[in-house]
């Protein structure tokens, strides 16, 4: 493996990831009276900073806890139960995850208003409202991770447990025990996403620390937020260190664990109807009610018809969607280009310093996008950089690189080393092994890794708002449009329709690829195999 393939991503991470974060520490190390960090320092010195921090961390913790609690049961149902329409449910729950959270929050605004009108400020306002909406947006993560973890549990272990205990006990003591690292990983992801979220709490009138930083960034004063961003950098480092200690290698090993192919579904018997009911309620809450909420908001517009509002928003939202998609494709691809060689180096080459790289990648992911943007703007104050798409693409690349990195490590570990070693001993140099063995063997996971990086970049609002005001992305537009409920609702509808369209195309592509793969690897007739 050429050394440049490892050194270039590391250089990119150091220059556009580690250095920006380090610059945030400078005002603390060498404060300048009346300097540009004064606002940040004032922010920190003021008494309301710590309640804001408490709001941010509390919201992230509560969201992670509730989303995990909500996601586990449907995860069990979709992962192991004999349930119908599983793929359809899985695709349905992906949509709220794919959309920027501010749109789901917008869909819940009319319902919150109705509640307020009927019963005064109630549970769908302030902290609780933001908490509920963020939970509805993020619970698919624990759901998917639980389902995945349950499908990865070794069938032989389960058989053994079933010989000695009833199914429910086996599920409780063994299966959940084995699935715990996967569920914990989902918890962490939800925590990170909730900690990064700025506009959802704002929509519900909850002030957060990252929201305050985002305001500064949106006003073009991102570079001033340097000193104030430091607490979130510290929090990110603490979370990253805890993640490395608690999961890190173990998480990779857990997800890479191979298992028997045949998964015996757990019979639901009478539980089928309640399971479908639960899934339907969650789909209604995360997708149905927001959809109706957008429609209600549009109908409330007196002068302009709903269709006209959507058409007007389409004019603004269409190009923003295109821009979002292009930036997300570029940023996600860069994240993959950064993460994949590092994953290969960590898994196959055992290069020194891989733990430090791992930690840096996790920190860059955990730190809110606004903070990373603040650091970048402090490091490269040039206006041209701030306004260029390159800044956004690079920021996406370093912010989300950990996702392709970790996922590809899992994929490489699942693939094992023997197939590559066999290539080596067949005389194939690294380039031939990569192009003819590793890439085709790894194509599905590479596609998945890339797609997830693109989705994360697509739904991100903070970096788009802070770094590319001249070229608004959809998420950033959503944040700006949140001042007008109608514009936000129309934009949400447009975004949901476009995202659903993209998802349908992606699902069809996956289906086609899957069929092509199956037909090319179709088993030979039994007679031939039995020889």
């Amino acid at each position: 493996m050429p050394a440049a393939l490892i050194l270039l991503p590391i250089a990119l991470l150091l220059v556009f990831g580690a250095a920006p974060l380090l610059t945030l520490a400078l005002p603390w190390l060498a404060p300048v009276e009346g300097g540009s960090d004064e606002i940040g320092r004032q922010l920190l010195a003021s008494g309301d900073v710590y309640p804001l921090l408490a709001n941010s961390l509390g919201l992230a913790l509560c969201t992670a806890a509730l989303a995990t609690a909500v996601g586990i049961l449907p995860g069990v149902a979709l992962g192991r139960a004999s349930l119908r329409f599983k793929p359809a449910w899985c695709i349905l729950f992906a949509l709220p995850l794919l959309l920027p959270a501010v749109f789901t929050a917008a869909g819940w605004q009319p319902w919150a208003a109705l509640w307020r009108a009927a019963a005064g400020p109630g549970p769908v306002a302030g902290f609780v409202g933001a908490w509920l909406v963020l939970t509805l947006v993020t619970f698919p993560l624990p759901l998917y991770f639980t389902a995945l973890a349950l499908r990865r549990t070794d069938g032989a272990l389960e058989d053994l447990a079933r010989l000695q205990s009833r199914p429910r006990q086996a599920m409780r003591y063994l299966i959940f025990g084995l699935a715990r690292p996967g569920i914990a990983l989902a918890w962490l992801l939800v925590f990170v996403l909730a900690l990064s979220e700025t506009k959802v709490p704002a929509l519900f009138g909850l002030e957060t620390y990252q929201g305050r930083l985002a305001e500064l960034a949106l006003e073009g004063e991102g570079h001033l937020a340097g000193a104030a961003a430091l607490p979130l950098v510290v929090a990110a480092i603490v979370v990253a260190v805890a993640e490395a200690q608690l999961f890190g290698e173990r998480g990779v090993a857990f997800l890479a664990r191979t298992t028997r192919l045949e998964i015996r579904p757990l019979p639901l018997r009478w539980g089928g109807v309640p399971a479908h009911l639960l899934l339907a309620i969650l789909a209604l809450a995360s997708l149905g009610l927001p959809l109706m909420g957008w429609a209600v908001a549009l109908r409330q517009e007196g002068e302009m018809t709903a269709a006209a509002a959507v058409a007007a928003t389409w004019n603004a939202g269409g190009p923003a969607f295109a821009r979002s998609l292009v930036f997300a494709l570029a940023g996600g691809s860069l994240a993959a280009l950064v993460g994949l060689p590092l994953a290969y180096a960590a898994e196959r080459k055992r290069v020194p310093g891989r733990r430090a790289v791992d930690l840096l990648l996790v920190v860059l992911f955990v730190v809110p996008g606004t903070v990373l943007a603040s650091g970048l703007l402090r490091l490269v104050p040039a206006e041209l950089f701030r306004l260029s798409a390159a800044a956004l693409v690079i920021a996406f690349g370093v912010h989300f690189a950990v996702v392709p990195y970790r996922m590809e490590r899992v994929a490489l570990r699942q693939l094992g080393t023997r197939l590559e070693e066999a290539g080596m001993l067949s005389g194939a140099p690294w380039s031939a092994r990569t192009s003819r063995l590793l890439l085709p063997l790894n194509a599905e996971s590479l596609a998945a890794v890339w797609a997830i990086a693109v989705i994360l970049a697509f739904r991100d609002g903070d970096l788009g708002a802070a770094l590319s005001p001249a070229a608004r992305t959809l998420a950033a537009l959503g944040e700006i449009a949140s001042a007008s409920p109608v514009a936000l609702a129309a934009l949400s509808l447009v975004a949901a329709a476009l995202s659903a369209g993209v998802m349908v195309v992606a699902a069809l592509l996956i289906l086609l690829l899957d069929r092509a793969g199956r037909s090319s690897a179709a088993p030979a007739p039994v007679v031939a195999r039995a020889r």
């Binding site: 001993l425 003819r436 020889r531």
Partner: protein
């Protein structure tokens, strides 16, 4: 694996040895952290020889194979293949893809996205051999290995035996100077193993290959090898022709590894007589004053008259062409293979058809 405890002189093989051997491993040491996987291993393989590395799991035999393949660096020592130094200490002087070796892995490692023929011809493709020539050579080799008609199928569509032969063909096609096999038959059933063992032996002879074969199966080792190298805890503890190692092992470890040995604690008296729990037996005198045991192979016991060793059958298992009985002789369980039926609690008299062999007690 065990912990490192000692230091030693640097490895320096004689130039003449390097020239004439297909493989020369000199004082190889391999450590994983503090664990010692290879401890001062030296090994020579002559051209055309089939050497089997035999030992229990974790004794270092696969590590040695991977070092020779270039997949693992050494901590110390040297490796020469066909006269060329390929490893010197921690330096891998020749990377795996440049070594004149072919390897069959235990898991076979067939590329699932390629057909059998593409798998076999891959090493030629990487050497820029023309497509027509690749196809011709792959088909020729597959024909020799009874893989006619399997070329267009992918590994998942092949039987276990076919997969094994495709892996063998892939390793053979580039005509390596040294063939490495890491328990290639481990996942196959007994019948197929026996058939493929013979096939491997025939191919080894037919192609005039030099082969280093790893197994923990003594039947496989005894049936295949020109020479068996016994490994234990990262060290080579014995080597020799299969017949010699089987009938006259030097140590208790070798005896137990190569047969269902009866091993009796024994004290040497004089004039070739030994005192054992089952009585006084005649056997060769020990070469030194170390502690020895007497090794009696089950097949060297036969029914005797009333003067023989008297015992009672404790357990019997039918093994097809013989009955394997555990006979209690004066409190010692003796394994005996009887051509005739025997029953539990039956009183028998046994005699030795060959003198026992003294083996060093290295337990």
């Amino acid at each position: 694996m065990r912990r490192a405890t000692r230091t030693r002189a640097p490895a320096r093989p004689a130039p003449a040895e390097v020239e004439t051997r297909s493989l020369l491993v000199t004082r190889a040491v391999k450590m994983y952290g503090q664990a010692l996987a290879l401890d001062d291993v030296s090994l020579e393989v002559e051209p055309g020889e089939l050497v089997v590395l035999l030992g229990p799991s974790g004794c270092g035999k696969t590590t040695l194979l991977r070092v020779v393949a270039g997949l693992e660096p050494l901590t110390d020592g040297t490796v020469h293949i066909a006269g060329r130094q390929v490893n010197r200490g921690p330096l891998v002087l020749v990377p795996p893809d440049k070594r004149p070796v072919g390897m069959v892995f235990q898991e076979l490692a067939l590329w699932p996205h390629l057909t059998a023929e593409q798998n076999v011809s891959f090493p030629l493709a990487t050497r820029k051999v023309a497509a027509a020539e690749r196809r011709r050579r792959a088909r020729e080799l597959m024909q020799i290995l009874d893989l006619r008609g399997a070329g267009a199928r992918r590994p998942a569509e092949l039987s276990g035996g076919e997969q094994q032969r495709v892996a063998l063909a892939r390793a053979l096609i580039a005509e390596p100077k040294l063939m490495l096999m890491d328990e290639p038959l481990a996942s196959l059933d007994t019948h197929l193993r026996r058939r493929l063992r013979q096939k491997i032996r025939r191919i080894h002879e037919g192609f005039g290959m030099t082969t280093l074969y790893v197994t923990h199966d003594r039947e496989e080792a005894l049936g295949l090898a020109d020479r068996i190298v016994l490994m234990r805890q990262g060290r080579v503890v014995a080597q020799g022709a299969p017949g010699m190692l089987y009938t006259k092992p030097a140590t208790v470890f070798a005896a137990q590894l190569l047969s269902d040995a009866n091993l009796l604690p024994a004290d040497y008296l004089q004039n070739g007589y030994w005192r054992t729990p089952i009585g006084t037996l005649k056997a060769p005198a020990p070469p030194d004053n170390e502690r020895y045991m007497l090794y009696i192979r089950p097949e060297t016991l036969a029914r005797g008259d009333e003067d023989g060793l008297r015992g009672e059958v404790d357990a019997v298992s039918y093994r097809g062409c013989f009955w394997e009985a555990e006979v209690n002789v004066r409190g010692e369980e003796i394994l005996w293979r009887s051509p005739d039926p025997v029953e539990v609690r039956q009183q028998v008299h046994l005699r030795l058809t060959q003198e026992p062999h003294p083996v060093l007690d290295d337990r």
